[in-house]
Symmetry: C2
Subunit: 597 residues, 2 copies
């Protein structure tokens, strides 16, 4: 069975040494987020997930959730583990102190989200969705709603969901049919069918707070007539006790490729009582709060599966004896060399390593900016951070899930035939990782969001929040004797390609939107490689400094430098191909009549 | 549920118009392989597989094989479908007439293998493995063995297997422990455990002929002491009737990520009676016959899953209404446009289409050369063909399975959330496709075979069999007004990169084998794109000719030209990145100590 150990040292390196989190925490008034506290949370969290939720990962896959007459039973051990999880306070980490949370920075929440997903992605989704619903209510709910629901959501006593998709509409929510009839008492009666509702019904919490998109009859057509509603599974009395069952029921659960431990529900709303959250017909705005946080979280899921798959593939590569090194026997005392001596096994391991460590830095950088956007005293700085997060989010979601899946597949490949056998657990990582490319906006939608919405915003204002620091870094460090040649030069080359691609996409896209659309996928991936290259160059710089200072873990910093080199040598060159594809234009993509495919 | 229709028209285009199969058939004495016969086989075969085996694909996945006390039961309907399959003579297509076969060319067998695998990969493996065992016996068995076993294997009455892997050895067969003790009567008693034996035990045929690698005690150490044995499940009497059960039993079957309908067995040999096939200690040579044919077949499996996934994704893309085209509404009469209007959906469909059609042409070209290698009257031409097949095989196997898996994943992506739900059948294609990257030599092994064995053979003799025709084609057609600029120029650019890469890999690899090893994966993929580019340029040439001639299916040829352009525009540029990665060298791949990963 696979095992998992949280990569604490790498989190510490990125948070403390590269991103200087403590400085940010002080600026933003996170007085409880000292370096010691952060380290303790990571260590305790890592320990808890390794010991409590990771051992349930395979059980969850094998048993799946069971549906009987509307009642959903989670796999053996899930309910008990969730109780421990709530007791230990893991759900409340970043929630407001006012609502019983620990008020820690979001960036720490993102680190913990990675750890939780690596340990058990299906399990982690229950509190993950609750967190998303909590955030949406926090920002858009009334004070009364917040007081009534947030404390129990922060603690995890109640879980949350997001209800968007219907059988005939996923991406295009304007086609939505679920309706909300206003009642005399200010509430609404919700009727309709929602599908693909993760954690929509289960036995782990005493109540479930559904956030549901629906249309108020008579409102504007399409997406502009969609509103957000809070619909509890059980009505909540004024004293906080639970009342009658509401008119929402689980019609069935899906049989899926993976994340079997999470219930994916069809929810039938039949005159279910709900309350408007935020403004009428502004449901999408409120939902987007949830979706943006969720997209970052989903990106981290991709990373998480690559990380846990990597850890196990590495163990296997050191244990499995097969063949001899092509440069001569390395383990003469054994019947064969461990397969980690073989260059192609190393290619796969190094690729995953460069991806996970680079992506981790990128996700945590985004997380820091998320905290700055929420709490920085300077409005200008808040806006800058908000812009940057908006620009990075679709890329983080799509690239990290797409490449995370590929890396999980690579890690499985290291096992040879054993990777295909369920007992080894590697194929589950691949199956679980696969969903992250689809939900919270399929990756193609992320690419379109990037080039169609984020890139043009403010005539490139969002893009400049990323381009400027990268450009400044390159200018500053290009001639640096330590990192200039090996790390900054390759980044500069890739960045120039991104600049060219940006001009091409913007200019052609103005004349013909299909040009931007057909380039969007390659553009997103080119952007992602530059962003990872930026993180790797910054990590190389810090590693060089640490080595020059002496002391500390020399092997760790030297390994960082080698991995950075590998990224520059063997992954960043894809930017050349991506630019060429973008420059080739949309014609051959768009030319065929649908009937001629 | 997904459906499947054999792409007959595309097979005909490649076989008749591009590869001019009829000319080859006449040269090689395949008098029964007229154009009409080939067309009839493809059409009847396509019909049979669509109607008989394709409907069992999901049943096979859901039920899987069952093991009880050594007895394996295949999924509902498999046994009956296999009876029909044998009755219709599909197993005997390319088998020798002497043994009751139809004596048709191998290239037609490869076309049918694609069709069979698209329809039901798990099912197709039963006759597929029988075919491999048939070929090995045909080439290396004694006349007596051939007369005794081949007729029933050709008809499919008995199935075959190949037994290589043991728990501690897969790639490195020198570590093998299964032993074969010589007996006074000339037979051997085989004892040992084999794992991952596809179709190793089942209820579809009355007998199973196992080909088993084992070591004769006292023979040379390692791989040089391995011999091949024929071990029937039931002893075969001299009159052809079945005798006693042999000492081979199925200890268990594996729970796998996919191909659930095929039994993957642990086979325990306990003093099982077997007979030497071919020469003592030369088992690997005999097995390689089977493995090379099998590798081509496995490459085609990758293609087959991409093809069937594409067909269904295309239907979905035309049916599913979601959003409006970014260049303006295309279906005003509908609530939304079909998603095929969206550029990124097209990018995915075009990518799969360019892959499947290019790969099909490549596989069939290899198949034609396989026939030439076996039957051409001129020895020199036979050797050339044999060289070319040897050079192409590892690339066909690795590239077509790796990219086939990626394409199946892309097709699944077209479905959005529904792609993740088992009922739609898309996720099965992905899971089934995954194994093809692993078995018959994991893809990394193929890459090593290519750069470590095939490339240096005869100081580049094998490579020249590919390089020369490509180079001649480019020289000849570079200035062609019809195809020069759009199709031959991009090919020439990519081919120059392959030539550079070949020099780099050869020169550096001589000094340090790890350089070749670390470059092998990128080299294989660069080679594959050039090979596909060659096929696309040739197909474009034929399409242009056909259009100039007038008549025929204009849409079909114009679509070929657009797809060729898409390949040149959006897929071939990857060669730039692959060359850059190869040029970057092995250092960062090989530098880390195993403990520092």
């Amino acid at each position: 069975m696979p095992s998992y150990t949280a990569p604490i040292k790498d989190f510490q390196f990125v948070l403390h040494d590269v991103l200087q989190m403590e400085k940010m925490s002080n600026q933003l008034g996170f007085t409880d987020a000292s370096r010691d506290v952060v380290d303790a949370v990571l260590e305790e969290g890592g320990k808890f997930m390794s010991e409590v939720t990771a051992p349930l990962n395979r059980v969850g896959d094998l048993e799946g959730c069971k549906w009987e007459n509307g009642v959903v039973t989670t796999p053996t051990g899930f309910k008990e583990a969730y109780e421990k999880y709530c007791e230990a306070g893991w759900g409340a980490l970043t929630a407001e102190e006012k609502y019983g949370g620990q008020g820690l920075p979001h960036v720490l929440g993102i680190a913990m989200a990675e750890i939780q997903s690596s340990a058990n992605m299906a399990f982690a989704m229950y509190p993950g969705l609750t967190h998303g619903a909590y955030e949406a209510l926090l920002r858009h709910g009334s004070e009364e709603q917040k007081d009534k629901y947030l404390p129990n959501m922060a603690s995890g006593k109640w879980t949350g969901t997001m209800n968007l998709t219907e059988p005939h509409c996923g991406t295009d929510l304007g086609l939505m049919r679920t309706k909300a009839e206003p009642q005399a008492d200010g509430s609404y009666l919700i009727t309709g069918t929602k599908i693909f509702i993760s954690a929509g019904e289960h036995d782990m919490a005493e109540n479930i707070i559904h956030l549901v998109l629906a249309k108020i009859p008579g409102g504007p057509e399409g997406i502009k007539g969609v509103s957000l509603f809070l619909v509890p599974k059980f009505m909540v009395n004024d004293d906080g006790s639970l009342g009658a069952r509401n008119g929402v029921s689980c019609g069935s659960i899906e049989h899926k490729m993976g994340i079997h431990g999470n219930s994916t529900c069809v929810l039938n709303y039949d005159n279910a009582k709900g309350w408007l959250v935020g403004q009428m017909h502004k449901g999408m705005q409120a939902m987007f709060v949830m979706m943006n946080a969720a997209r970052l979280g989903v990106g981290v899921q991709g990373l998480s599966q690559a990380e846990v798959a990597y850890q196990n593939a590495l163990t296997y590569a050191n244990d499995r004896l097969q063949g001899r090194s092509i440069t001569g026997t390395k383990a003469p005392e054994k019947p064969a060399d461990p397969i980690i001596v073989h260059p192609d096994i190393r290619r796969m391991l190094m690729t995953i390593k460069a991806f996970t460590e680079g992506s981790r830095a990128l996700a945590l950088w985004t997380g820091i900016e998320l905290d700055i956007a929420a709490k920085h005293p300077d409005e200008q700085r808040r806006q800058e951070a908000d812009d940057l997060v908006a620009f990075l989010t679709p890329m983080v979601k799509a690239y990290m899930t797409d490449y995370g899946y590929q890396c999980a597949t690579m890690a499985q490949q290291v096992y040879g035939g054993h990777g295909y056998i369920a007992e080894w657990g590697m194929e589950q990582f691949v199956r679980d990782a696969r969903i992250a490319m689809i939900y919270e906006g399929a990756n193609g939608i992320q690419a379109l969001d990037l080039v169609g919405r984020k890139l043009p915003t403010g005539i490139g204002r969002l893009a400049r929040r990323f381009f400027h620091p990268v450009s400044a870094f390159i200018e500053d460090k290009m001639m640096d004797p330590g990192i200039g040649k090996d790390y900054v030069m390759p980044l500069a080359k890739a960045f120039a390609r991104l600049q060219t691609a940006t001009a091409v996409v913007s200019e052609r896209g103005m004349k013909n939107p299909d040009e931007a659309g057909a380039a969007s996928w390659d553009y997103l991936n080119l952007f992602a490689l530059v962003a990872l290259g930026f993180m790797w160059a910054r990590m190389a710089e810090v590693a060089k400094q640490k080595l020059a200072e002496g002391g500390g873990d020399k092997d760790f910093y030297e390994t960082k430098l080698v991995t950075a080199r590998f990224f520059m040598d063997r992954m960043l060159p894809d930017t050349a191909a991506q630019l060429a594809k973008i420059q080739a234009g949309a014609e051959s993509t768009m030319m065929l009549k649908a009937a001629n495919f």
